[in-house]
Symmetry: D2
Subunit: 333 residues, 4 copies
């Protein structure tokens, strides 16, 4: 960490600061220039509060040199992490499409979609049983019954299941779920992250609405520092002033997260755009910039043909998209 002091800082103030830093068992190196004084800190600065120091009267600016994330940092773990979910692998060259309906609605629905996405080549089945909704009056999911329907779908198709957990108190219900998803709104629900860090389940961690990549990695760090290294990062669009799309898919997060971290990175083009016909082009773009997997919403609703062109793809559209994914993957690798 580098601290630049303001010009004309009184020497007593400077000494107060360096004494305080030494009291934190840090190596403190002062270099005094003509116009400014720079203090370099050596040692474990992860506990130093950069905001506090930045706001001191005598401080011009502070730069943190070593990253504060460790477990997920590629610097300390150069090889890609490969996560194995009942034999289905993701990361390190292993690619996986996770597909299924936004919400689990009925046995018939989840079974039909599960069979269809498996036939198209999906590696895992997704489906929401506990649904975070902005309004308390919106459908909150089938909950335990939804989880049970997912288990049936897994039993028949063999596809591992991925579903969102919203609360520590629901953990016992997720005992035999294969991948636990943390939604964007819970990305900084630190108690949930710590509790998931004490399980041995793979965690699919979605980037929050307006969170930076560093904050995403720090949330992964919460899980990993608690003992669970099986974290999959997920870019799902961020909030901007976009006018025609629900969110702005930040695909540059894919190569940058790969540079910063060894964890697998998947992309959710369905939530990012909110429009089914935008899902295929954004899916192919995500593949082209190197994502390790995708999470795509697929819904089969023969009686409600109207909703077919909403956010979710039909099984047919999904099957066609899977073929195009394969083609792009074959030339990118």
């Amino acid at each position: 960490m580098i601290i630049v002091l303001k010009a004309n800082t009184p020497i007593e103030k400077q000494n107060q600061l360096t004494d305080w830093l030494k009291g934190m068992h840090l190596g403190v190196h002062v270099s005094t220039g003509e116009y400014q004084t720079v203090i370099g800190l050596i040692g474990d600065t992860t506990k130093v509060d950069i905001d506090l120091i930045s706001s001191l009267d005598i401080v011009e600016r502070v730069t943190r040199v070593s990253e504060t994330f460790k477990c997920c940092n590629r610097r300390f773990h150069p090889e890609d992490t490969v996560i194995d979910v009942n034999g289905v692998k993701i990361g390190g060259g292993n690619f996986c499409v996770i597909a299924g309906p936004c919400s689990v609605e009925s046995e018939e629905q989840i079974m039909t979609v599960a069979r269809a996405v498996k036939a198209a080549g999906a590696g895992m089945l997704r489906g929401g049983a506990f649904k975070p909704r902005t309004s308390p009056y919106d459908f909150q999911g089938l909950k335990a019954e939804g989880l049970e329907l997912l288990r049936q779908a897994r039993k028949e198709t063999g596809l591992p299941i991925v579903t969102e957990i919203m609360s520590v108190s629901d953990l016992p219900l997720f005992d035999d779920i294969d991948v636990l998803q943390v939604g964007a709104r819970n990305m900084q629900n630190f108690d949930l992250l710590k509790a998931l860090g004490q399980t041995d389940k793979p965690i699919l961690l979605k980037r929050g609405l307006a969170n930076t990549l560093k904050e995403l990695l720090m949330s992964a760090e919460y899980i990993m520092a608690s003992g669970n290294e099986k974290v999959i990062l997920c870019e799902r669009g961020i909030r901007t002033y976009s006018d025609y799309m629900r969110n702005t898919l930040d695909l540059s997060a894919v190569p940058m997260l790969h540079e910063l971290s060894h964890l697998p990175v998947v992309v959710d083009p369905s939530h990012a755009t909110g429009i089914a016909r935008m899902v295929p082009p954004m899916t192919l773009a995500a593949v082209a910039c190197g994502c390790d997997g995708l999470e795509i919403e697929v819904h089969n609703n023969p009686t409600h043909a109207l909703s077919d062109n909403a956010q979710q793809l039909t099984p047919d559209e999904f099957a066609k998209l899977c073929k195009r994914i394969e083609v792009v993957r074959s030339v990118i690798a």
Copy 2:
């Protein structure tokens, strides 16, 4: 709700949509124009998923006419809500300054600060015992011990205490806490909101990092629809591309929230700016545009004079500010 169909929508598709809407027990009025067809919905449309309908192939645009929030809506509750915390009132002309340290650190610290803020005119004492931190390696608060120190400070000063709760499982520890605060990162932790809705405690609900006013009100609605009407809204700065300040304090939220809702609105200038010397001007601005209260960080640290000019005010600075608050209040009311 108004649905505008695309030009040349086939009549069968249109009928499918109107039949589906009628199936939801809504009144459906179709007006067919030369270039477009407009469908008006009457009835309880709070359960209609506007995103779903917007994304239908045949739909040009959807406008929701009636607001989806009810309990917190001023339209259905024209008088200001007044919340009484052990005799200290907020809202409806009652103004309250909540002050105290960011974190509870020691008995000496909390006692000294509590006495000082009481003397200066604060109505409630704040102090963090459970601290949400971006990094798992940062100080997470004194937890139960911190709550105990807050109780001691209350006992001596008589000030009601306000402190953040991060998890449903901690609720039993907060049994005799006067006001439970929900932090920005948990604004859409819906399970926590529902659990707090089942208590009879006043809840101080902070606006999330990048949440809209409607989302803030919908989160208040979660608490209120679960049975607890004692919600205090708090603006604490939003995330933008600000370069010199931690967040961007959105003061226009104050008069707009007052127009939309009957709930009291407080402002936290300390977290919004992250810089102690910016707290006084932003505090006075918040008072001038009509806030019902403030949450201000005050810290007494005689041995660490360095941190005096960080985010937290000294007791002296706070006392001076309280006098200025009173002066501005006296001419605004």
Copy 3:
């Protein structure tokens, strides 16, 4: 346009509004419901100020049904526009890579880079002669001398040249420039747009720092409504709270602009990321989601090897990337 009135609007107020609208030669259809009244407008509503009406006391909400952009609207011009720049085509299936240095620096530099990018397959040469810089103390470009060097490079390589114009008063200097670029900061410099609309030059219009797609299309509309239909749209990253990248590349703009407009869409991954090693993955992603071309910065600086890994690619890196672009294009088309 659909205007929804507030409940309990007095009939006189409603009549005032409808009379005023009729005075604008619009067809006015009023439908009165139990809880609300909806006014539909038919005719040329492009001149109706939606902000003004939205802000009326009696108005609940306004929805514009017909888009305000016409010349660039795909609805009125279903076929893709193909722009022919001295035989090099872009749009409608014609793909073009525009490459060259950020700034023209010297004859040797521009000649070397021009030859290199031509050999690698670029269709046009870019190079900044007039440079918009945040600071008045930063290098502002070689100006007229830079344009002359670009002409020399064109003469030798045959590549059409693309360069930024910042001011109407510079137009005479751009007389024989092939494509005039409007930079992000000038996207809403309406006087410049109108002047360019009176030329017959193809215009490369970059999306502003924080502008919506609609605003980008309205700026294209300024050029087209002034008589020049040769507009190329360019996505170059938008401003968010991104921490590791200069801007956030909004690739979903590509398919959405294609849906809304018939104009060609190119992507500039160099300015979007600001980091040379991020350019290849974002280039391939842009190709995969269907862009019509790319604008990529390439610099040859054998004596300053240090800057090779900055924002600009080396000729070698560019040549390798061009091959990968071709491979992805071949499977996407």
Copy 4:
């Protein structure tokens, strides 16, 4: 400027960088630590491209120590700038309300409004003659005729006039205009800024839609470095994801700009909120945090009562607000 190198940077690469920096006539101080090497630069680093250096392979991070703005920097000019417009002063304790209609529409309109705002206490008259509009089909202003009407209003009331200039080529028309306004969309139209820097007119410079405070100050620097020191800064709301307001008024810009610069700072609550009934609370808040003036839209339209509650205040509402401004000013100063 401080450059932190990555661990394990080869010494040749490091020397290449330091040689290059020395070639720019900068003092270069290298301090080599156990884990990292830090390079300090002394001298005129305003011409060093921080983005270029940041993006070098071997560079971990760069921190600029001295600000790049000079003319407008309070560090080099501690006393407040006072701008005198025909005897009306702003800055350094002099407060001024600029008021008038959004657009000049007719002689009767501008005369009526000018008289009314003068009577209420406004110090200058505003009115748009050249209007920047997102759509080419929207009203673009009365142009030269509008300027003439402003001159008439000045003649009668004695109020100096403030109006927007959009293009260098219009400068001759503004010869006797008192204050030239640069609109948000032109904040980085550098050619316009340079041309205004060669006049001796006071310039009211509005912050761009999504520009940082530093960018605003750098644009002021363009004007000042060209020779004109009479710049008034204006905060008018920034673009965020606000749902109920047109923009988000960033009032913390007021004290922060005062800290960074000696220039006067005015606030435009009309454009910031877009809603007349939000103008009074935000005006009082702006006054309370120390702004040097306000720019408020006032319109007198007895025949179109409908628009009275749009963005613009009526003369009556404005007169009442002026009294409240005075009251708050009297207790703040």
